[in-house]
């Protein structure tokens, strides 16, 4: 099964205790698979207790990207967190671990 890193790029950053990850389809053809794969439930499950709040996913059809917002996900924010990656720069790459979700069979035909 391919992983998200084969079809998407990321940019990751912080806003106080939230982590914001832009996931950008490598090509327009990859965008539907990015949309299927990056869901709030999938992201929340991936990071377990590192994400204590909600996960939101906002599509950006115009640039074939989705914004992933993870609330209360930085251990209290950049200045307070006990993590070495104080600004969540590496967590975007973590999202790329998600296995790509295939299109439903009817669509694939």
């Amino acid at each position: 099964m391919p992983f998200l890193h084969e079809i998407a790029y990321v940019r990751s950053g912080d806003k106080s205790d939230s982590v914001s990850v832009g996931v950008i389809a490598r090509t327009p053809a990859d965008y539907p698979a990015v949309l299927r794969t990056v869901t709030p439930a999938a992201v929340k499950a991936l990071f377990g207790d590192w994400v204590r709040g909600e996960v939101e996913v906002y599509p950006m059809d115009n640039i074939e990207a989705v914004m992933v917002v993870m609330r209360r996900a930085l251990g209290g924010g950049a200045t307070r967190t006990l993590r070495l990656d104080q600004t969540g720069k590496a967590l975007g790459n973590g999202v790329l671990r998600l296995p790509v979700v295939d299109a439903p069979a009817a669509d694939a035909a």
Binding site: Y9, S20, I24, G77, A78, R80, L82, L84
Partner: protein
């Protein structure tokens, strides 16, 4: 009024390189050079410096940067807009005036912008019934941290920058204006924008371009997922925006500089540190990033069109910094074979030491460096025997003395720990300034502009 305004990025953060800013000045044919120095945490550090010395509190690199940039900027008529005033724009601007005089650039006009600093007005705001609810946690008990507050700065809009430029400032030294306003302000001045008269879509276009520009090389290949294919990143060019009066813009850079501008580098920065991309809320307006269009129109040239958004919000973001205990931390490394096993046994040993030392901590975190330090629960367990693994521990305590116990426990493991333990230099405990993000009514914040002449 010009058809096109040329904006150059000169700094994306405190610590950024100066040579790309000089390159933009020399070869970028820009009208304005915008320099961002501030992050959420910076204001608290600067406020603390000002507390110790009333003449400090601005970005300490500011005089050296201006000494390097001013001669060329004055010669070419490029106006510099920065937020390097930090917690003390008045002292920062006075220093810049001193630098200009020492370079013989008499007559240089340096504007300072104050009014974002609300540290002395918190009680007044509380008395007026402003709830100061924590935007992250929903916590309404601001009173709980009131006595530990060390900084309170509102993200202010571009109106002060516009006023300063209208008055002929060659250099603008602002405090906590939004990073974005460093770009919107010059546009408001050059294109005669006004919050009441101007189409909000135009101002939102300025906000969008400001967002693309504000972290400098982050739009020209820095931090890119495609970093491996980016040319000469050690001499990367900072971005330049050619902003047209019709609300479209071209992002580019100096020809021959390192890095790249293409649709992907612009996309990568469009999504950086954004929450809901349809509502990018800035003090100057609300930009919608979900309807703009990007076109690659030439080498290192990307046109951004169909930008838009809505008018400015009634509330401004207020970042309050407060003292929040201490962090003690340590790190050590273990070699093959069975490096992971050594690290795990060292962790158990360290927990025993913490118990013996009576460590009082409200949070303890262990990371396996090389395994899960960066991705935490998302990272799997290695299925091979790694060459080396590190163990990092970090704890949060109320006092420095408690945090110090972590350093002691780590040092004790140098001998008590596994064979091959490599410990490097011990880390000192550090004080924590936590951030309490909240909102304050726009009307409660008044910017003041003053011009100093060198």
């Amino acid at each position: 009024m010009p058809d096109t305004v040329r904006l150059g990025a000169g700094s994306g953060f405190w610590g950024d390189a100066l040579d790309p800013a000089l390159e933009v000045l020399r070869e970028g044919n820009v009208d304005f050079l915008s320099m961002d120095y501030l992050a959420e945490l910076t204001m608290a550090l600067l406020q603390r410096q000002r507390g110790k010395d009333p003449k400090a509190g601005y970005i300490s690199d500011l005089p050296a940067h201006m000494a390097a940039l001013l001669p060329l900027a004055r010669e070419k008529g490029v106006r510099i807009v920065c937020n390097g005033g930090g917690a003390n724009p008045r002292a920062g601007a006075a220093q810049v005036a001193e630098v200009a005089r020492s370079l013989g650039l008499t007559g240089t006009k340096i504007a300072l912008i104050e009014g974002d600093n609300l540290i002395d007005r918190i009680d007044e705001l509380m008395d007026a019934g402003v709830p100061l609810t924590n935007l992250d946690t929903g916590d309404t008990e601001f009173k709980r941290i009131r006595n530990r507050v060390v900084a309170a700065n509102a993200y202010t809009d571009a109106s002060g920058i516009r006023e300063a430029l209208d008055q002929g400032a060659d250099v603008v030294v602002a405090g906590r204006v939004s990073d974005n306003a460093l770009y919107v302000g010059p546009l408001m001045h050059a294109l005669d924008w006004d919050y009441d008269r101007t189409d909000p879509n135009l101002i939102a276009a300025g906000i969008t371009i400001g967002h693309v520009m504000e972290c400098a090389s982050a739009a020209t290949g820095g931090m890119s997922s495609r970093f491996a294919e980016m040319p000469n990143m050690g001499r990367v060019g900072f971005p330049i925006a050619e902003f047209s009066r019709d609300g479209t813009a071209v992002i580019t850079k100096v020809p021959g500089s390192g890095g790249r501008v293409d649709a992907h580098t612009v996309k990568e920065h469009l999504v950086y540190e954004v929450m809901d991309p349809a509502s990018y809320i800035m003090p100057d307006g609300v930009a919608d990033f979900t309807r703009l269009r990007l076109d690659e129109i030439g080498p290192d040239r990307v046109r951004v069109s169909q930008m838009g958004g809505r008018g400015r919000p009634d509330m401004l973001k207020l970042i309050i910094g407060y003292e929040d205990g201490w962090i003690g931390e340590g790190i050590m490394f273990f070699p093959w074979p069975d490096a992971l096993g050594r690290a795990e046994k060292a962790k158990i040993t360290m927990l025993e030491r913490f118990e013996r030392l009576g460590l009082k901590a409200d949070e303890v975190q262990f990371d396996l460096v090389g395994v899960n330090m960066l991705h935490g629960p998302a990272a799997g367990v290695p299925t091979y025997d790694p060459n080396e693994v590190g163990l990092r521990v970090a704890v949060h305590t109320d006092t420095k003395a408690e945090a110090e116990k972590v350093r002691r426990a780590c040092a004790q493991l140098w001998i008590m720990g596994p064979g091959g333990t490599s410990f490097g230099a011990p880390l000192k405990p550090r004080p924590v300034i936590s951030v309490w993000p909240t909102l304050v009514p726009r009307d409660a914040v008044r910017q003041r502009v003053e011009i100093l002449e060198a």
